[in-house]
Symmetry: C2
Subunit: 388 residues, 2 copies
């Protein structure tokens, strides 16, 4: 396996043909615009904290860009998911359908509401939920009662489906919306990785009840830490802002909070960084599509491995470029990971599947065969927007 | 009441004699040091997010300053409280003793663990928990069972007491520690407002199981948003860091999370601001003691109102200077609030008491007479460290 034509070496050569011989991280932030200026402006005006013009501007910029009527800025993607679930009415002893192939935040946020994740399988083309399998699973295992979808085995209400757009690739959101309607389940979108990705020309995160964005340091744009809740419903937006800002009732001096609230507001300092980054989003997206195209050209000549592509109806932000080992090559996964990382090229497999984590190993689940195979086949390769 | 010698006018005159005639906020941040430099350094190095040298430095600076062995930086004071409660073992159906006179975050964080707040009364001198009344309440209403303190009425375990150092004034923490030992209850400190305050020469937040700090924009130093968990226990510190960083197990590329975790880490960008602010903490504390002394001199000549002072054993950071209306003057509270705010001097009453908020009105409580009276008598006056 150490010969020049081993799969690991061929993959290293393909990456280096595109990205050069220098060490590369998986996804590094770049700051080429007004970042310093806006941060200094926060200091000059002393508006660094819970209110400030950058919070308002960042929310307006996100709403305009995504086409959502509202964006409510919060402290990170996890908190955006948590509040989305709360506002959707997810509560103690509910079940929420979550793809097993996702980042742990999706699943953790379900448990914050006292609800149980119920894991579903993935589609090989989009890495999103396999809608055909999900429908069959629901037909077999649920019944309708008083307009709710009940898990026949547990007796619990299946309240919501989380549509995750994995690595920026839009899932089959239309398929999920159909299922949601048929089975009386709400759709929430985890668009943490998919800012800039669209499906049928409509931005991810704007199809469901809410869409959760993330601006962590590894995302396409960053606030240091940050997130947002997208919604086009006035009352959801109002409640999202209220409950993420300690549920304080406006008053000149009284501190009255009319429900249990959260301290999830995004500081103005972090929003300032976000505003500067939003100005560069179009150029970052162009750079990332360009990087994908160059990787595609290199990987198209390799056997045993392919590069994940957007599907016909969707446009991906190509947040993380992803190679897929052929089924008969998946035993090489760890060798590829070791060789690439040893060569200074940061790569990683997909997250440990949710149903394999100790905290969630006893949760409800369907047959998870495709996701299980995918977890042995997928490898993310260096994808920073500044790879020239 | 509009004459020059009305109580509201006398209070306005006293504040303006100290602080001048210009409009004043209640507590405004000041940035006189390396704030711009450290923020720009984050951009230059691209370390703005979940790891970075400023996070490490901020934690080390806080530990050194407070004398706690460890400080774990988190995203705000609320998350510091939440994780403190979790690590103390506060869980579903427990009760936690919380002063009714506190900011809502203390109480909200109890509910995040599925536990119930149980409200206790306050001491007029410190604004902290009245330890004498608390002990009598526990003697009458609890029993010991298997080394736990059980509320005889509800049958629930009383797991913890939250010692809040209100407005920076250290509470009777030694008294609370005695009660905790006698009744087998844990002490956690909400030191969100008391960075720089000590009791018997020891920093607040270092007496209990943990101490929660806040660096919100209105605090003595700010990160934009931020908080920290103080502890001198190695395993508590390790678990606090682990659970606030999604409980991820270290590995070169695998994403394994060994329990339900939280995304509460402080971004490096916010820690950078915190490091610059920590350098100025001693000068801010001096300025605030000086401001207190000048207020004290002015208010000592007024009848009907006094200025809250640190007690013999404690040293307050005088985060928010607080005037206390005499009992026979408390009907003037709203007139004082209106007149001062109309004069451009931002003042506010204490928070609405916790047991008066709709979410908590059905919770267990003792007689809350002193806190109820205090809530009609306390007014915070402008306290920024840059008032000359």
């Amino acid at each position: 396996m150490n010969s020049q034509d081993s799969l690991p070496n061929k993959i290293i050569n393909a990456i280096q043909a595109v990205a050069g011989k220098e060490p590369l991280g998986l996804h590094e932030p770049t700051f080429d615009g007004n970042e310093r200026r806006y941060l200094n402006e926060c200091i000059d005006t002393t508006f660094v904290s819970s209110v400030g013009k950058f919070v308002d501007k960042f929310e307006a910029d996100l709403a305009e860009y995504t086409g959502a009527k509202y964006a409510v800025a919060v402290v990170n993607g996890t908190s955006a998911l948590h509040i989305s679930f709360l506002l959707a009415g997810v509560k103690n002893d509910d079940e929420v359908l979550v793809p097993t192939l996702t980042f742990v935040a999706t699943t953790n946020a379900v448990t914050y509401c006292g609800a149980f994740p119920h894991f579903v399988d993935s589609d090989e083309k989009t890495l999103g939920i396999d809608t055909y399998k999900l429908k069959q699973h629901l037909l077999r295992n649920t019944k309708q009662k008083n307009g709710l979808c009940i898990n026949k085995l547990t007796g619990r209400t299946i309240r919501a489906i989380v549509a995750v757009h994995v690595f920026g690739h839009p899932c089959d959101i239309n398929g999920l919306l159909s299922i949601a309607e048929e089975f009386n389940i709400m759709i929430l979108e985890d668009a943490a990785e998919s800012l800039g990705s669209t499906y049928n020309g409509k931005h991810t995160g704007t199809f469901g009840f809410t869409g959760a964005l993330s601006f962590n340091g590894n995302k396409i744009i960053t606030c240091g830490g940050g997130g947002a809740i997208l919604t086009s419903d006035d009352s959801v937006a109002r409640r999202a802002k209220h409950i993420t800002t300690t549920a304080k009732v406006p008053h000149a001096w009284e501190f009255i909070h009319d429900e249990v609230g959260y301290n999830y507001r995004l500081p103005n300092l972090n929003a300032a960084l976000g505003c500067a980054q939003m100005e560069q989003l179009p150029s970052k997206l162009r750079a990332k599509r360009n990087l994908y195209a160059r990787y595609k050209s290199e990987f198209s000549t390799l056997t045993g491995v392919s590069l994940l592509a957007e599907t016909e109806k969707s446009k991906s932000n190509y947040w993380l470029n992803t190679i897929v080992l052929d089924r008969d090559q998946m035993h090489h996964r760890n060798a590829v990971l070791e060789a690439t990382n040893n060569a200074g090229l940061m790569t990683r497999p997909v997250w440990k599947l949710m149903h394999e984590l100790p905290a969630f190993s006893n949760c409800q689940r369907m047959n998870l065969e495709t996701a299980t195979q995918l977890s042995r086949r997928l490898i993310n390769i260096p994808s920073s927007s500044n790879i020239l």
